[in-house]
Point group: C2
Chain length 562, copies 2
């Protein structure tokens, strides 16, 4: 990715090695800058070098030109050695879910199937293998050192003081304030951390709906979203061959993968909500745990008694999972199996270190419904559930809205911190006005930046097509960049160590007319370069925006000579 065209010419992939664990090699993008050249009053040029800038990189092997990725074989398994060496997991003789067995046995699927499916691993009976369990036991894992290095980009090089150490990472995970998604069956994923004392992360969604898109398209979108900066990837597919598509995605995805298992469970009962059962759902969880999904959205916060709270809403229930479970509760007039079997769910996922994302099934779907009784009743339930997850050493975070006007954002954050015991918050935007379909990446980046500044750990991206259609490749790019902006703006506002290094380097390049350096440092070098070149620019000391006589930067340089 970095060197495929001139927009990335000065970028290269670099690796930083762990001090505790030499097998930890944290990939990042190194941007090599040109020097600053000034002329003194005699016209003699003076050259001062500019330090390289490191950029957090979610591209994994795809951004390393020295690695040739073969999608048919999947990515290198960077975490496998660490997992195996811990000696607390074992390779199973076969997949254990009924559905997984069925699909493997179905030879009509052979042409669709990823060729190199490995046997799944699971915890040895009696061992607790989650990063949270290790952390509580005082253990620092290679994964923890990895994220500590990754979060400190530019700090050591530039002498910036940082509080983020492997010990700090461990303590935040132990406390439940941070999640390190790390299914032992997805060793291809590079460790990353979700918590409010770390860099703000963004999630991207892919997945087909009833209109089938092909497996190739979905894998392409997954890689594409990592290229632009997605920190995690949710596969929200609801169409055919979900199982096989997921295998392809997981095997080729360098970031943690999340799913909403109820979607596949519903497909298994042919879309009939009333036919959903704990047994079907449980088998789906095991199936996905063994494929390597890193976190599950579970709408266990829907309580029978709270469903009616959405009756008077302008927009009812807008969460797919929430509406499915609410309907199930009403049809059967009983508590949902997700709530009733929550401890069983935790016991299952703990064996693979799959994290739980407690889904906000009653999130508001418009400005008018924000911060209402339905939403906050569910938040209270999630606060109860997160303690139950932690009791079983299951990592967990909390999903949040949605649609919230700016003046109501802070209450969301404060209540979540308070009622959910500081578990990481993971919000969808929020969108701050409903009047801009076609531009909801912007309405939601506004809300996302604010709530992330206040403490939300991860933002789920929204594309321009939200509310209208499935995003295409270009929508994914624009959505990711809009969210990287929101996340980075929050990192700056929170004073994350090293966050401002890139801004300052880019600003300096801009002021010094080092145009190419400016573009190499930007979130979307291709777009910046495209706009610049389309306007007929060369690399002179002005641009068409102001022209040579009215360029303020040029005038300031004159000024400094006076």
């Amino acid at each position: 990715m970095p060197n495929d065209n001139k927009a990335y010419a000065k970028r290269e992939k670099a690796y930083m090695t762990g001090k505790m664990f030499p097998s930890v090699k944290v990939g990042m993008i190194k941007v090599n800058l040109t020097p600053t050249v000034t002329k003194d009053k005699h016209g003699i040029p003076h050259t001062v070098p500019n330090a390289p800038v490191y950029i957090y990189d979610t591209g994994g092997p795809f951004s390393d030109p020295s690695i040739e990725v073969d999608l048919k074989k999947g990515l290198p398994r960077v975490r496998e050695q660490w997992i195996v060496e811990r000696g607390d997991t074992e390779e199973l003789p076969q997949v254990t879910s009924e559905y997984g067995k069925q699909r493997l046995a179905d030879h009509s699927l052979d042409s669709l199937r990823f060729e190199h499916i490995r046997l799944p691993r699971r915890a040895v009976k009696g061992r607790t293998i989650t990063q949270m369990a290790y952390a509580k036991a005082g253990i620092i894992t290679p994964e923890m050192e990895y994220v500590a290095i990754r979060e400190n980009m530019n700090c050591e090089e530039l002498g910036i003081k940082t509080y983020i150490t492997p010990e700090f990472v461990r303590d935040e995970i132990a406390r439940g304030r941070a999640v390190l998604p790390a299914n032992i069956n997805h060793p291809e994923a590079e460790p990353m951390i979700i918590g409010r004392n770390f860099l703000v992360k963004i999630n991207t969604n892919i997945g087909n709906s009833a209109t089938t898109s092909s497996i190739e398209e979905e894998v392409d979108k997954a890689v594409w979203s990592c290229k632009w900066g997605g920190d995690t990837l949710m596969d929200l597919s609801t169409g055919e061959n979900i199982h096989e598509t997921r295998e392809w995605i997981v095997r080729n995805c360098p970031v943690p993968v999340g799913t909403v298992p109820i979607y596949q469970a519903l497909e298994k009962v042919n879309g009939r909500v009333e036919d959903l059962t704990w047994e079907v759902y449980k088998d789906t969880l095991i199936e996905q745990c063994e494929q390597g999904v890193d976190y599950f959205t579970i709408h266990a916060g829907i309580r029978r008694q709270n469903v009616h709270l959405a009756d008077t809403r302008l927009c009812g229930i807008v969460s797919r999972g929430g509406s499915i479970m609410s309907k199930w509760c009403l049809i059967h007039d009983r508590e949902s199996f997700l709530y009733e079997h929550f401890d069983d769910i935790c016991d299952i996922v703990a064996q693979y270190d799959v994290a739980l994302s407690l889904g906000d099934g009653l999130r508001p779907g418009c400005i008018a419904d924000a911060n209402d009784a339905a939403q906050f009743a569910e938040l209270d339930t999630m606060g109860e559930l997160v303690l139950r997850a932690w009791d079983k050493n299951v990592q967990a975070f909390i999903e949040g809205p949605g649609h919230v006007p700016m003046q109501k954002i802070q209450e969301n954050m404060e209540r979540q911190l308070d009622h959910c015991h500081e578990a990481p918050f993971y919000t969808l935007g929020p969108i701050v006005t409903d009047i801009a379909p076609g531009y909801d990446h912007i309405t939601s980046a506004i809300g996302g930046a604010q709530i992330a500044w206040m403490g939300t750990a991860m933002l789920c991206y929204v594309t321009p097509k939200e509310h209208l259609a499935l995003p295409d490749r270009e929508d994914v790019r624009v959505g990711v960049v809009a969210y990287r902006i929101a996340a980075h703006a929050a990192d700056l506002a929170k004073g994350h160590p090293g966050a401002q290094v890139r801004d300052n380097a880019l600003s300096k390049a801009r002021f010094e007319f080092r145009w190419r350096d400016q573009f190499h440092l930007s979130l979307d070098p291709e777009r910046a370069l495209q706009y610049f070149e389309e306007a007929g620019h060369t690399d002179g000391e002005y641009c068409t925006m102001c022209g040579p006589n009215f360029c303020a930067a040029k005038l300031t340089h004159d000024l400094r000579k006076l």
Copy 2:
């Protein structure tokens, strides 16, 4: 504009008549909605009408299909009668600026010239004719009633309580907390108000730089920006034939027009900063006052003693006007003529009721320079100047940054309110991170929404091309929509009366699958419809985003039947 294609089929232009002044006819867009149709358990449909929604309209005659606009003749002069009837202004026998006379006498310009140039008006000697002077005298003008009606869109119809009355408008103008830009020589402009107790406004910039674009292109961009929702328009041209281009723009612009007169003054001295003089500048002011410019950006806040404060900045001075005046101060080693002649400037503009926008020549040009000594020293000077303007009954507002990380935005607003005596604040964004060239409409909409919520009265838009090139038509559209989003999000957060009506109507339409109603209510109906249709949608009860089985809205409707 509203009925030119199916995206606008349910929109029509409507007018609301003044109660104090029957000649006040406030144009707005009326969106006629289809009824809500539900079926009871016997399958019998029930129809409930949905009230029409009124949308604030900046399109003027261009959005009224019953008016045929001839750009060669200019727009109807809606305010002329009111101005004439006040009897305190007079038509001059000829333009009074030297430059204006020269240009008129130059027959080589005849082919470029707007054909129907009228004689300018000016205050009768001894009379003070600004809206501020009337307001202080307790007079409610037709302009004031006009904006009161305009700001209360949907309130009367829906019984929403509102504090905005003609008396309130008058009092805010008298106090200096709001500006109603209303050059008596631009009677084509529809009255609007800029102040923090009113709807947040947005300004758009057009204008060519050294690469000349034609007069037609500039007029086209002006009309286009009004179509999308620009509340005021700044013509920042710096190329050839500025005078003639401006005449065309002003005569065809239904919103107030602003300029930065120092740009044209610099062209008159062939780009040589050192040759700028008060006399050239003064003649430029008179020239533009008589053409009908409604507000001038004046960088009078640059003091000789403060210029050096920018020396240690990462990005120096990034305001064109600021860098020009700073250079002038250093070359001549004296106080700027703008500061020294500020009272003279006020005396000139008061005769035409041109408002002053005190330009922030020392605004920060990157995150690193935000809230520094240079910026705040200038703000203090602007606080002194605004009192001097008010003493002469000149309406004034204050320009603000620029580039500010989120955690430093509030200090900007608080200082401005305090040091500038609550004069309206007019900011450029602010951009909250520097790492996204090509996406600065988003980086700045994030900051703009926040500062507007805190009290900024008007936001200057930023397009995707900012820092890279001049915007084209599509950039103008995207920039305006991004800023309408930021402004509206702030209106919601501030609780402006009636602001949420449109959100609620759109949300209801979305939930009820009244797709066309949703689009007619949106900020960019064409874009929303395009995305919808490109995805192959019909008007069914789901979209391709989730498909029929996973549509939460559909499921909620089922739920409500249970």
